[in-house]
């Protein structure tokens, strides 16, 4: 489903990714581990078309993201949900409105928004907090709103970039459970993290990156750094 084919990406004076090749299958749960600056975030930026590789191909369902036209990127992003460490919710909108926002800006009709938003809020277990503003929610709740927003387009792929970075261990655990639940419904999940306990508890594929290179790629892997 997703294939990195000899991808290299450099920034001025930094080699972020060095000749990386990965195959990710539909329905996979992939943990991407490594130290900060190892290249995990670059990898995610490449998948959503935020950055272009210097060389190599990134195929998503046989579409080369590296070649995609700027005006087609929005449509790519509707197929891919993204969650970040810094959550990125709009502070002056409620949980419901934050999720609805993703559909509004994609031009979805109001009736569809009304139906879909409660559905994903239920998926992340936040029906009761639908009308709460971000400052009225805990870190874990906010991250779940962000996941709901990422899932509202019914994406084929969910990218989570350090989603638990700012959360305590209980909240982090809950977020991980949620990601695994989403994965069980058939959505491919890529989790970039350096939270050792979380990765080890998943018992699924783990790719370890160091200095822009894959040093381990293990089924049912562990955090080995």
């Amino acid at each position: 489903m997703i294939r990195f084919d000899k991808v290299t990406k450099t920034y001025p004076q930094i080699i972020a990714l060095k000749n990386i090749s990965i195959d990710i299958h539909k329905g996979d749960f992939l943990s991407l581990v490594g130290q900060s600056g190892a290249g995990k975030s670059t990898l995610i930026s490449l998948i959503i078309g935020e950055e272009k590789p210097d060389s190599g191909r990134i195929l998503i369902d046989d579409i080369d993201v590296a070649q995609i036209k700027a005006r087609d990127i929005p449509y790519l992003r509707r197929k891919i949900g993204v969650v970040f460490q810094d959550i990125k919710l709009l502070p002056n909108r409620t949980a419901l409105e934050n999720v609805a926002f993703a559909l509004e800006v994609s031009g979805e009709p109001a009736a569809m928004i009304k139906k879909e938003v409660p559905r994903v809020l239920e998926l992340v277990g936040l029906q009761e907090k639908a009308h709460a503003f971000p400052h009225q929610m805990s870190g874990g709740e906010k991250q779940r709103v962000a996941i709901a927003r990422a899932m509202v387009h019914k994406p084929v792929l969910l990218l989570a970039d350090e989603p638990t970075g700012n959360l305590d261990s209980i909240n982090a655990w809950e977020i991980l459970q949620l990601l695994m639940k989403i994965n069980k419904t058939g959505t491919t999940v890529i989790l970039a993290t350096h939270a050792k306990e979380l990765v080890n508890s998943v018992k699924k594929r783990v790719i370890t990156i160091e200095k822009g290179e894959i040093i381990y790629d293990q089924e049912k892997g562990k955090y080995v750094l």
Partner: protein, 305 residues
Amino acid sequence: MTTLETKRLIKSGLTNFLRNIWISIAATSMVAITLFIISIIIVLYALTSVAIQNSTDKIGVVTAYFNQQTTDKEVQNVITEIKGLEGVREVNYTTKEEAIAQFKLIHQNEPNWIESLNEFTDAENPLTGSIAVKAYDLTDYSRIYDTLKGQRYAPYFQNVRDNQTVINKLYRIIQFITRFGILLAAIFMVVTVMVTFNTIRLTIYNRREEVEIMRLVGATNWYIRWPFMIEGILYSLIATVLTSLIILILLILLSGRIEQFLSIQVLGSSLISALFWRILLVNLAASIVLSAIASSIAMRRYLKV
């Protein structure tokens, strides 16, 4: 673009406008001031043109006064000849008797003048017959003047006069208004673009989080850009309506005085309404172009999509 999307975009643009209402008012005022200056220039230009046209009919004429000794036959010959000159549209002959009658009419309340005229015998009457020559074009007058002043007609005329200096003065006024106006308008347009640019830049800065999220969740580029365009268009529209209203009110209130000042009988409601529509159109076009330039530059530089 569906109606639903259009609605959302306009709403979003309105939100941009209202969220920083004071900055929006400042930007709108700046656009309005520029439009006001452009409007004033248009009004001045139109009025001066009317004035010149009007006065050309009155003053656009070369007047030549015959000598006392020029015979009636010579007068007739000269008139026929001048009528044949290039650029001459019309030659009006005023006889000596008509000149005297006119003089008496003009000075009917000044008995001293009439008396002094009566002192003269017919033969030495200082008032003489004259011709008033009108040209097709304003630029022809100096040539006609030179011809009448020349050798050929020297025996017949004692004096030739034209109003070239007055015409030139009017032309200089209109030229000054045009040049100064264009310069002033240009300066204000540049300032307006800068102010509007800065305002939109500020809105982009204020909404950077929102824009970032919009990009992440798959909003198209134009969907991200349009609210900022609409914000700029709002400045233009409000400023245009405001300025045009003020100008219309001024035109209606001042038309009496303007007529008096330019000694035009009637400006006429048709002139005022024609002027108003022209101003409205020019304002609308100018403001939309200005704000489009400003928002495009701001978006190109600060809105990464």
